[in-house]
């Protein structure tokens, strides 16, 4: 056990840029590394990624392990699991941090079980137990109704972290670090699952994960027509339209705008929830918003336990008047 040392962050990239989740992982990793008095390193995997290592160093890694191979251009489960298994066995970190992303969701459990250890998915808090020096892994369970704190006796201790749950390090271009290249050693035959196409269904306009204002509708909106009214308000506030799961399941809105545990995790300045009951699974995706506003006809709706401001009423009557009033205020 004593052989496993340091914190390693699997840093996701897009093109040759570190993604925000990687900076958040390095932020969390830095705090754990300091608590343990051990090193923080980054693992970057991809193709043509020489430009990434300096960024990881800027964000706090003192060592960067880079695996650069054409077979790693896009995420393929088998390729990435094999490569990560190799890297982890070489560097033997005490803790591995990944993001709860498209990749992390798929890669982390496979890797954990391959390595004979465990992983806690979607952590919102990480700390070192002062006595045992083991990692305390806090994650929402029961759809967010509860939080559980997990520990493991096996190594490495693995976690994925929820987007926007951890504070990123302030980048510092003067930080120094070392880059270690590790060959992938992959054979094309190792890759059993093959991605044969990637389809993007991005909606026009601002993405909900980037918007400062999100106007979201739920089952009570009743159809596509209703969402047009939400769009009008969103446009006025230079924001984006989101939804709870039922409107996406019903095809009123694209799946890519679903907010929640199994959708997007967002934290805008203003979140306006219209005809959304406020299930714990939905709130998992938006409870980090600065101000939550609810319009719901049921005064007992759970959403009012999270909202800062609200109206109890029928959105069909309230929303047009609300949009008109906002328009008037913005004009004056």
């Amino acid at each position: 056990m004593a052989d496993y040392r340091g914190i390693a962050v699997f840093c996701e990239i897009k093109g040759d840029k570190l993604l925000p989740i990687a900076a958040e992982g390095l932020g969390a990793g830095r705090r754990l590394a300091d608590a343990l008095g051990q090193d923080l390193s980054a693992i970057v995997v991809g193709s043509n990624i020489a430009g990434v290592a300096p960024q990881a160093i800027m964000y706090g890694a003192s060592k960067v392990y880079a695996v650069d191979d054409p077979l790693l251009k896009y995420y393929q489960a088998d390729a990435y699991v094999n490569v990560m298994e190799k890297v982890v066995k070489q560097i033997m970190p005490a803790v591995i941090i990944m993001g709860q992303t498209d990749i992390g969701r798929d890669l982390a459990p496979r890797l954990a079980f391959r390595l004979g250890t465990a992983v806690t998915m979607d952590c919102v808090d990480l700390a070192i137990d002062p006595e045992s020096k083991r990692l305390l892994q806090t994650k929402p369970v029961y759809g967010g109704n509860a939080h559980a704190v997990f520990t493991t006796d096996t190594n490495p201790q693995m976690v994925t972290i929820r987007t926007k749950a951890m504070v990123a390090t302030v980048p510092d271009s003067l930080r120094k670090g070392e880059v270690v290249n590790i060959p992938a050693g992959l054979q094309a035959a190792d890759i059993r699952t093959k991605v044969i196409n990637r389809v993007l269904e991005e909606v026009a306009g601002i993405k909900i994960e980037d918007a400062q204002v999100v106007v979201s509708g739920g089952r009570g909106i009743g159809g596509t027509e209703g969402f047009k009214q939400l769009e009008e308000l969103a446009k006025l506030l230079k924001g984006a339209v989101g939804a709870s799961r039922p409107p996406c399941d019903n095809g009123w809105m694209p799946d890519t705008v679903q907010v929640g545990l199994t959708g997007k995790i967002i934290a805008p300045e203003l979140y306006i929830a219209i005809a959304i009951s406020g299930s714990s699974q939905h709130m998992s995706g938006c409870s980090g918003s600065k101000t939550i506003v609810a319009i719901n006809k049921d005064k007992e709706a759970n959403i009012f336990r999270y909202a800062r401001f609200g109206v109890v009423g029928d959105w069909k009557k309230v929303l047009p008047a609300f949009t008109a009033k906002i328009k008037e205020m913005l004009a004056s």
Binding site: R110, N145, A146, V149, K194, V199, A321, M329
Partner: protein
């Protein structure tokens, strides 16, 4: 096609959050007044299996691990159209983590023998882990695709649309494989009267740890790698300011005023 679908009995995730209670002494939770249900994503997995069966023919075997499994809950997939039900039912199987659960499920899969596809939900509504499927794949040494929204079978391969944050990937995987299913696969069908009658006649096969040749130190709470040290309810101080007014126009105007005062936009 031989398809094995893993489903789990859980506390009702759609019950109002106010009925959610924690038994801190045992690190367990319950939904007061709401009976247990089939894990929703397991139900989506059942739906996926039935779509494949319709297209390709074959047999759907449902596999569930737990104790105190209510027959009306675990028989629901049969009423939806599945063919057989295997229960790993024993106190020793319970309170496991994804690892010990997957180990037992994989042992049962081996005993069932023939399989082309193993389907799981993308994540259970209680654990929110999303690990059991990938863990079964690792134990059995077969490939795994997560978050499926569409599954097509042809020439010993599955072509799968995998949900991503920006759309979906189209992934091809040789069979046998494990696939985890997301809600985008489509609403699970309702049991028909005929299905319910047929389900009544199907007796579940019940296996104990010894039946699948697995040591009790490897299953349930004893086989856990993740130790739970605390379970608690996060607190939300609900201090919502409701806008006042007699008419919708007044309500709306007052809400807008409050937001402006708070500089929320």
């Amino acid at each position: 096609m031989n398809i094995i679908v893993c489903v789990k009995q859980v506390i009702d995730p759609e019950a109002p959050p106010s009925s959610f209670k924690i038994d801190a002494a045992n690190n367990k939770a319950e939904m007061k007044g709401a009976p247990p249900v089939l894990d929703p994503y397991g139900e989506y997995a059942v739906e996926a299996s039935l779509k494949i069966k319709e297209a390709k023919g074959g047999k759907v075997t449902v596999l569930s691990l737990g104790s105190g499994l209510m027959r009306e809950v675990v028989k629901k997939p049969l009423a939806m159209g599945a063919d057989a039900l295997v229960l790993l039912e024993d106190e020793a199987f319970t309170a496991g983590d994804s690892w010990s659960t997957a180990g037992a499920l994989a042992a049962a899969v081996k005993k069932i023998g023939q399989y082309d596809l193993i389907l799981c939900g993308r994540e259970a509504s209680d654990t929110n882990a999303g690990q059991t499927g990938p863990a079964i794949a690792e134990v059995l040494g077969v490939p795994c695709v997560t978050l499926a929204r569409k599954i097509e079978i042809a020439d010993g391969k599955a072509k799968i649309e995998r949900v991503t944050s920006g759309g979906y990937d189209i992934v091809e995987v040789p069979l046998p494989a494990v696939v985890t299913v997301s809600n985008e696969i489509g609403e699970p069908r309702y049991p028909t009267i005929k299905g319910i009658m047929a389900a009544k006649k199907i007796e579940p096969v019940v296996w104990k740890p010894a039946d699948i040749g697995i040591d009790t130190s490897k299953i349930g709470a004893a086989g856990r790698r993740l130790k739970i040290s605390r379970l608690f309810q996060p607190i939300h101080e609900g201090k919502c300011e409701l806008a006042a007014g007699e008419t919708p126009e007044e309500l709306a105007a007052n809400l807008a005023l409050k937001l402006r005062e708070a500089k929320a936009f």
